[in-house]
């Protein structure tokens, strides 16, 4: 049987790593199940691992690269004794105590669990996606933009991440067509303006992709106009999808209360419906979804977990160092 930890943190984006910094500084020796490498945002470090310049994280006057920012968060948590396992949680049991969390090969036990599994990008849900991923269809503009020099590519979506990808991709592509299902963008003003005044970007409004064409390589996107029903083909060699995110909560189904979109419901700070289980970051936030709000909520979860642990019977009393929150 494995050792029972005080705090186990599932996920390692800004929320999970901030929770790790705070619980480590409170001598709770957190263990972080940081996830496994992938080319989606479901990976150690989370969504920022797929971004380039982060310009709105306070303290970085000139901006910082997403992966560099996450490296700093992680190093800071490690400095105070947080432990990391590069594995993905595959199951949990919150019905008995201590709580159990499984990975593919191991079982972990903890008195308190902080859930910070984040959200991952939605795909289009088209059959062609499986065939063409890595062959012109991409989940990671920063990884793959380079391979589309002087080409015409499409970005699907109308939010901030879609604008960021479109602008980033103009470094390589000759032309970027943004395909959006509405007639106006959801993106923030500053991102809209940057995209609108970029000569390489044009917009295809009221349009939804219904197929991605090509056998071995992307040859185009088939779109349908939502107003007229008319179908047409956009002749692109690359397709980047940025149509929003879905929370990574499938392993908590039936154990943690969620809203209809699958976001974990939190009450009174970071508490979930299970006493001793706390949630923070994008997994419970469908409103703000910023690195800085995720970090803030990670701090809340750490403080809530620490205070809750102090109220629990314990074989050895938890000796907290004087904290300077």
């Amino acid at each position: 049987m494995s050792e029972v930890r005080d705090v186990l943190i599932i996920g390692s984006g800004p929320a999970g790593l901030t929770a790790a910094i705070y619980t480590a500084r409170a001598n709770l020796r957190p263990l972080v199940l940081e996830g496994e490498p992938s080319s989606t945002s479901d990976q150690p470090g989370g969504q920022l691992m797929l971004t380039t310049d982060v310009e709105n994280y306070p303290g970085f006057v000139d901006g910082i690269l997403g992966p560099d920012l996450m490296r700093r968060f992680r190093d800071q948590a490690a400095r105070f004794g947080a432990e990391f396992h590069t594995v993905k949680a595959t199951g949990v049991d919150f019905s008995s105590r201590p709580f159990k969390v499984w990975t593919r090969d191991e079982e972990f036990q903890a008195r308190a669990v902080i859930v910070s599994t984040g959200a991952q990008s939605k795909m289009l849900g088209l059959e062609a996606e499986q065939r063409l991923i890595g062959h012109g269809l991409s989940t990671c503009a920063t990884c793959d933009g380079f391979f589309f020099q002087n080409q015409h590519i499409a970005v699907v979506g109308g939010g901030d991440s879609a604008m960021e990808e479109a602008i980033f991709l103009t470094r390589f592509a000759d032309k970027v067509t943004v395909i959006h299902r509405r007639d106006s963008l959801r993106a923030s003003k500053i991102m809209q303006e940057r995209a609108m005044k970029n000569d390489k970007i044009d917009f295809l409004w009221n349009s939804v992709p219904i197929d991605v064409l090509g056998d071995g390589m992307v040859e185009g996107v088939r779109v349908r106009n939502t107003q007229t029903g008319e179908e047409s083909t956009v002749p692109v060699t690359g397709v980047f999808v940025a149509i929003g995110h879905t929370p990574n909560t499938s392993i908590f189904a039936g154990q943690l209360d969620m809203d209809e979109a699958g976001y974990i419901r939190t009450y009174d700070g970071s508490k979930t419906n299970v006493e001793g289980v706390f949630a923070c970051g994008d997994v419970q936030d469908r409103v703000y979804r910023q690195a800085v709000t995720a970090a803030g909520s990670g701090c809340m979860a750490a403080i809530d977990a620490e205070r809750w642990l102090e109220t629990q019977p314990h074989e050895q009393p938890i000796v907290a160092t004087p904290t300077e929150w």
């Binding site: 496994e36 490498p37 150690p44 593919r104 991923i133 062959h135 990884c143 380079f146």
Partner: protein, 108 residues
């Protein structure tokens, strides 16, 4: 041949890949690719733990765009496994250690 991870260039690629008696796993990567950075330490572990059965090498697509074009790399990280210089397998996207090991099982 050393057990570490070899950097392949336009000049050395063919020679290194075809002269190897062991299968060569080639990691196409770049400095600016976040998922590539995450998968690098996993590949280092796999290389040192399986030094007797395979070699791991890498191609920086910034330095060697010709090799990337030749193998139609359009997404990184992409891993390609070569045996006697012939591509046998292609894995697109970053993956965790256990998943990579099971994908590479036939070469171990």
């Amino acid at each position: 041949m050393a057990t570490g991870i070899t950097d392949l260039t336009e000049e050395t690629f063919d020679e290194e890949v075809s002269s190897s008696e062991l299968p060569v796993v080639v990691d196409f990567w770049a400095e600016w690719c976040g998922p590539c950075r995450m998968v690098a330490p996993v590949l280092e572990q796999i290389a040192s733990e399986n030094a007797g059965s395979l070699r791991v090498a890498k191609v920086d697509v910034d330095d060697a765009p010709g090799i990337a074009r030749r193998f139609q790399i359009m997404s990184i990280p992409t891993l390609m496994v070569f045996q006697d210089g012939v591509p046998k397998k292609r894995l697109v996207g970053a993956k965790g250690k256990s998943q990579l090991l099971s994908e590479l099982a036939e070469f171990l």
